[in-house]
Point group: D2
Chain length 345, copies 4
């Protein structure tokens, strides 16, 4: 097991989870910024003594490589790694969308369009079968995971017509070196950003839900997808971790609170990391865990369906999901090394 | 000038603003909990030396009385105060809704239904003329002020069909003695509450917008109103002050970003406390001020209109608005003693 | 394994750690407030389905009982539990001080003064040998653990003359039902409390350091102690978890930064949960872990020694230390089920 | 009135206070970064429409100039401004220390050593007489103001022998572009920094107290000073504004809580911005105000004196004090435009 990009927040969570994984060995981790320096230089919470290695060294030693790099780099590294017989879990956006869609939203020319056809979309609740044995996994991010899992039961039932999705995220979602995240200006502050249909996770949400609408419960990454239109408005919330998605869905057919809850409970029955609540979710309850808490609510006054989904953006929304995918790829029990319960308070 | 209920957060802001008001004198303030004790016993930020008086004493000495009391008390106190020739600004919900609607949503029997017919709704941007000379003002709260001002231009234009309104509030909105606001469980946490159409500010928002739909720009409290249906989902955000309303409105007609901005700029032209932004608002920019920052956004992908409105829930959403109403009632310049600019950071 | 008092913050951390412990079985947990209700009623972060049991039932089923109760209750429960052949880890202050000192500082009459003679003081770094096989362990709290470990090397060297200790604590240290912890008044606020020598953890700190001064490195709970006088000033910091102790020690003899660091490194060499840093500690680096980060600094200008110690008040300062004691009592590897690394960010 | 450096936090507070000042006119403000752009580009809380001017223009138009610039720039600008007949309030460290001390601690060669002899130290509570009519004022910063005012009564009494001073600061004290202040790593975190006698405000604290020890109550900037040795350990606290200084002073003579309180009350009697409390101070109580809250405590156990002082680091610790100095320089009432009461919560 190796990690490229181990000095970002996704890297920190991968380090935490993989160091405690009983079935795999972490043979190396790299970071351009910290190469040759001890792990503690980047991460005061860790106590290890090992040094950040060179990227090439990690690629050579590891059998499975996690790419926790900025968008645009994985498409350069993944082809070689796969050629060398490695398996890859990519945490960037590089293999999540068809190359032409990717290029339109990310404004980065795609260098490995062929590889996209091989990538499996890493949302285990929907793509579990495909992920077993996958060589290249495109691990989705926090907003998309939350929004997709919030609306998937409605899509699988074929009743989802559209949704107004509000995303509320802690600051760590912006990454370690993000601009505009100075404490004094983020604390005691709340603001929308990239509003009006400009956030690049929109096409991924629409694609996910469109695939379920077309294929039903168990979907194939490269199978058919229907068109579905979402509005998505992200906000920055003055907290470090946690994502909440609040979605108002327009649905077909006659629903009640009972039938809605039954739909969600059936859909997620047996899922190890999705909990359908009877009350409203709160982000803190997922802190440090790989769990998603979901709550659907039928709103009599408007005939719409409200759904809330809360998760830890660095775990189920990033590194935890990557480890869940790893477990599936290697045929290990899916829950290995992944906490289902959080830290409180 | 007198304040009943001066030991709550609304009271604290009234004290701050009225003590600095050059045209009125604060002759007394009361609090059942602190009666006879110095102001500093309740409020470490104040430095005054005066004592909390008895409620009766304040009522006797003051010509205008602010009622910053829990719902259900103003309807008992206001009639006597008015009879004694006083004027009243009521910060509770007691006189904001027709008694039968009030009783349905607040589950408190209304004791002064007749007085409701005399109360003027205290949103100066819409009811300015009515407020001049009013004897009893029903001062609206934070969510309603933000949501109404966010959507009023669309309603006045007659194109508002409905809206999905998400409310995001700092914790002080719950009041000083609220349950469930312990730091360790609110900090680093985000959660919806009273979701699914149960929040009692919903009928007030619908009534406000319905009046504008029926009457246009300058509305009368007891004039005609049309029906309009809103969805409203409030959330608790880990910060002390600040409200952001994010609304997705369904509108009639053909709109563009330009025509939408023109509508909002025209509607709020000359308003001393409403700023129509070119960028996205953030709550911190309104801290301590009586300003509302508004931003409309036309969303091409969905044909819907997004509107954001940010304000300080204890100022424009409570005590500042009450002082603005006072200024209008007394024929003083509307902006007296009300900051238009905030504290940063 | 059983927990009494499982609905407080210490209980939550015990539940988290014990549920993941591979060598022991959690057979029950109780809370007067939640008896008969599911675990999730008290703890949204947990996902279990089991119910809070009656206290008697837990006492009967468990072989080792953790008492996470308010001061004054353990002295009633412990005698019976021990009589029934159980072992007890007590997280309260009941068995940490000689009964006469306890009564003077806690103002609670001590009901089991004899049992105090049998209790072993649960600070593994100093009392490891004694703890093996102990029947009743008095688990110290957060401030005392941090202050003792910060100054122990100086005491063991015999050079500690006195110290000015400043304690800085996150809000969870006050417990789940503490007064004066409302978010709106604690956030963006910082304040000292119980200043001027009135905090009841002072005699425990003085006793710990006095024992080391008299006995050296490995101390016996009921062995000799010398007098040493500390000043201790606690402060409440607007964060949930984390304690930092900043101590200025007056010392005998000639010291340099080098000799001071050597002393600390030698003293804590091999300790699994104490890390002597080369830089300054920060509380967040210990989040969720059982680690203490310590840094001594020789201050040339004043000839004094500054020492910093940071830990997670609910883990090494409470529940983690209790599990560490459990491991020693049962002869298990001391580090079992205890994270040495934290969550970041 | 003009401000150079109006895009930093000190500049923001100067803008807020000076725009509301009834006796002076703000004729211009500059910022290299924002020159030619509207005020709102830098400051979302302001609503003005004016543009940031060029530095030269501000210097030409204003009669009094506030220099809110990084250390090292004021010593270049001040000489010319004074030559042109302007008066200067300098918020940097350039004129606070004798040039040779400045060079040793700031490691910047001093370019206007002669001007230092003319500068008056801008702490009104001690230098009030000197400040009237001053042409160049060296405005002290937050830690120094708090520590000096905390210990000044003991120094004036001649009994201060030394002190261990702990500084606890909100993040805004580090400035707008400070490194290491990312929300995700500062929030829920607490850490010391520049510990061990390395913080450059130490010589200024020692000089202030040394002057009082030598000269008594009313001191002259360039008068005699005695030597006094302090330990000072600053910490970063996860909040935006607010400074608390906790000092343990070693004193001569016999003291009691009563005699100590009497000393402080006498010393600060009549001071408009210093409040001697009967309880413990908290930083939030000073938010947005120019007030300092002070509390001395005699600690019987150790014979030492504990003193706490809380203030808003951007107001009394920076811009408010500068305006207080301005008022004195111009012969205006000292309290003009300066709030004595804070915002709560």
């Amino acid at each position: 097991m190796g990690i490229l990009g181990a000095s970002g927040y996704g890297g920190a969570e991968l380090l935490r989870l993989l160091k405690a994984h009983p079935e795999v060995e972490l043979v190396g981790f790299s970071s351009r910024k910290y190469e040759g320096r001890p792990l503690e230089a980047a991460w005061p919470q860790l106590w290890d003594g090992r040094l950040f290695a060179a990227q090439e060294e990690v690629l050579e030693r590891a059998e499975v490589v996690f790419l926790a790099l900025p968008n645009g780099l994985s498409m350069e590294i993944a082809p070689e790694a796969l050629k060398a017989g490695k398996r890859v879990v990519d945490l960037s956006g590089d293999f999540r969308l068809p190359p032409e869609v990717y290029e339109a939203w990310y404004r980065i020319p795609h260098k490995s369009p062929d590889l996209y056809r091989e990538a499996v979309y890493g949302l285990p609740e929907l793509h579990r079968e495909e992920l077993k044995g996958a060589r290249l996994v495109a691990n989705p991010g926090c907003y998309v995971t939350a929004a997709t899992l919030a609306l998937a039961p409605l899509a699988a039932e074929g009743v989802l017509k559209g949704a107004f999705v509000v995303g509320l995220s802690g600051v760590s979602g912006a990454g370690r070196e993000a601009e505009g995240t100075a404490f004094a200006e983020v604390n005691e502050n709340l603001k929308p950003y990239k509003a009006g249909g400009t956030h690049r996770h929109i096409p991924e949400m629409e694609r996910n839900l469109g695939r379920i609408l077309a294929q039903g419960r168990r979907v194939r990454t490269h199978g058919e997808a229907r068109a579905v239109r979402l509005s998505f408005t992200p906000h920055l919330v003055p907290m470090t971790r946690g994502i909440l998605v609040t979605a108002e869905a327009e649905v077909e057919g006659a629903w009640s609170q009972e039938s809605l809850e039954a739909l969600y409970r059936d859909f997620y029955a047996g899922e190890p990391f999705v909990r359908v609540l009877k009350g409203l979710p709160e982000t803190k309850a997922t802190l440090g865990s790989n769990r998603v808490d979901v709550r659907p609510l039928y709103e009599e006054r408007t005939g719409r369906v409200l759904v809330f989904a809360a998760l830890d953006n660095l775990v189920k929304g990033m590194a935890g999901q990557a480890v869940q995918n790893l477990n599936l790829m290697l045929g290990l029990p899916e829950e290995t090394a992944l906490p289902k319960e959080g830290l409180w308070p």
